[in-house]
Symmetry: C2
């Protein structure tokens, strides 16, 4: 099961019922967070996911509404006695930023592995974090900002007939199924001998804090869930949003449609948007399967049968 | 009216219904915050006080649970277009710490005035911030930590008979009442000519994150409200609390009694203390007028008639 939660949906300034930006996914006991706005450790508790299983934190960029929850979260992980390394990835400078924030959480019980994503040679980068296959797209914000997609790959179906044909004992099947080589009777057997072609995996994309750029539809193509900022819902706010390097509902919906995604959730609302639902038609007119995201809105994706 | 609010009562790790440490006072349109744990800007909104009137922020120390809400608050103040200077005071190093946190809120619309409180020559320092008369006491925590008291002074009563005796025209009375000199007919008249002796002001004290030290009763003496940490409520937790450089309910109550304060509120609870009320007898047995603080608990103090 691949769980996704839109932890916080507030952009720039929180409301009393809307926390700042964060989203989380979990799969096979491992949790990955994108952004960590102020209050993230509280909303993760309310959600019931807790935070001790967080292995990876990706940052889109370093404005406070996306990262101010990090020092508190780091300290809490330490207070819980974490010893596993924490991996933190983000735009160039991520180490400097996090180390600066650590001035208020100086003595952690675990180490941090930094991954700086630089776009000097390409606007698109790939990272593998455990079972999460991450793509990173350079966006266009007031400072360097990254859009992410998270994919779970899925191996081909195990072909029992072929396994028998090769006379591979049953006790090795599980290992081959997991994609590992096995050796017995002097021979090495590789997974491709018994696995069919890779099957369709799962994909979630997350784009926030950018002007609309033409690379987005290709980047999010085929996503099972596309989470995208809609700072404002109203068409009349387009110019203002672009001026701040942000997008509106209809931009998100257009990208959802062009990228042929299955479902769109809107997020990162301006504090002026006290009721994100009343503008929803501006998105659904373009892309029907759009939902106005709310704090802790959750979805579980399963591999296709 | 002197309003006091216990904004957040969580120590170290927040609960879903308990934010991290902060308290606020306001008087005559000016607001002062002590500590700014993660989520403070959200709870201030819930409280209905907002945060645009914050003129002064005092930090007890620089552990994340006491300061992680600062960068988000600073950014929000900027997003609201603040131009008035913000004064931030705290232990030595406050400028370095805040400037480090500003890495995620680099472009603020206002300037910051830093006051570093150093105890090289004395364990007690005084600062005047507008109408707030602050005393700062060096506490004993794992890092440098400060206890604060906030006093409002009150001038003596205006003596109409003496004003008439000196033949001071009525239009000057208000100025004299405010403590200013007036000049007319070639003479300077000073407030002491028409004001009685200073009257009793108001005093609030705030002590958290320290081992019990003998200076506390004198420091909080006569407080109308004494807010003090009770990391644990149970007597059996004394040793553990002291080991972390913290205090328990009965320490707070003993200081309240010895310091002859009017009322005690407990705060800064361990996350293990899911119900701070069930241990309250450990404090009330020693000092009757004790309340277990809750987030956004508020009290208004008035000058005595």
């Amino acid at each position: 099961m691949f769980d996704i939660s839109l932890v916080g949906t507030g952009g720039m300034i929180p409301l009393s019922n809307r926390f700042l930006t964060a989203m989380a996914v979990r799969y096979n006991g491992s949790m990955l967070l994108i952004d960590c706005g102020e209050g993230t450790q509280v909303t993760l508790r309310e959600l019931g996911w807790g935070f001790v299983n967080i292995d990876y934190i990706l940052f889109t960029h370093f404005h406070a509404d996306h990262i101010a929850g990090l020092p508190g979260l780091m300290l809490s992980l330490s207070n819980y006695g974490r010893t596993d390394m924490l991996t933190i990835a983000g735009p160039k400078g991520v180490k400097h930023v996090v180390e600066s924030l650590k001035v208020i959480a100086p003595e952690l019980s675990y180490s941090i592995n930094y991954i700086e994503i630089s776009f000097e040679d390409s606007n698109l980068k790939n990272i593998v974090l455990g079972e999460f296959h991450i793509s990173a797209l350079r966006l266009r914000h007031r400072i360097e900002c990254i859009g992410y997609s998270i994919e779970l790959y899925r191996k081909g179906k195990f072909d029992v007939a072929r396994a028998k044909e090769h006379q591979i004992p049953v006790e090795y099947w599980n290992k081959l199924q997991k994609g590992q080589n096995v050796e017995f009777g002097g021979n090495i057997y590789s997974p491709d001998m018994v696995l069919g072609p890779d099957r369709k995996g799962l994909k979630v994309s997350y784009i926030t804090d950018t002007r609309p750029i033409e690379e987005i539809p290709d980047f999010v193509r085929g996503s099972d869930l596309f989470i995208c900022e809609g700072l404002y819902g109203d068409e009349e706010m387009r110019e203002k949003a672009y001026g701040f390097h942000h997008m509106i509902y209809s931009d998100a919906a257009r990208f959802a449609k062009e990228g042929n995604v299955k479902e769109l959730w809107l997020t990162h609302y301006s504090q002026a948007m006290t009721n994100p639902f009343e503008h929803l038609y501006n998105a659904t007119d373009i892309f029907q399967n759009t939902k106005a995201g709310e704090d802790r809105m959750t979805k579980t994706l399963s591999f296709e049968e």
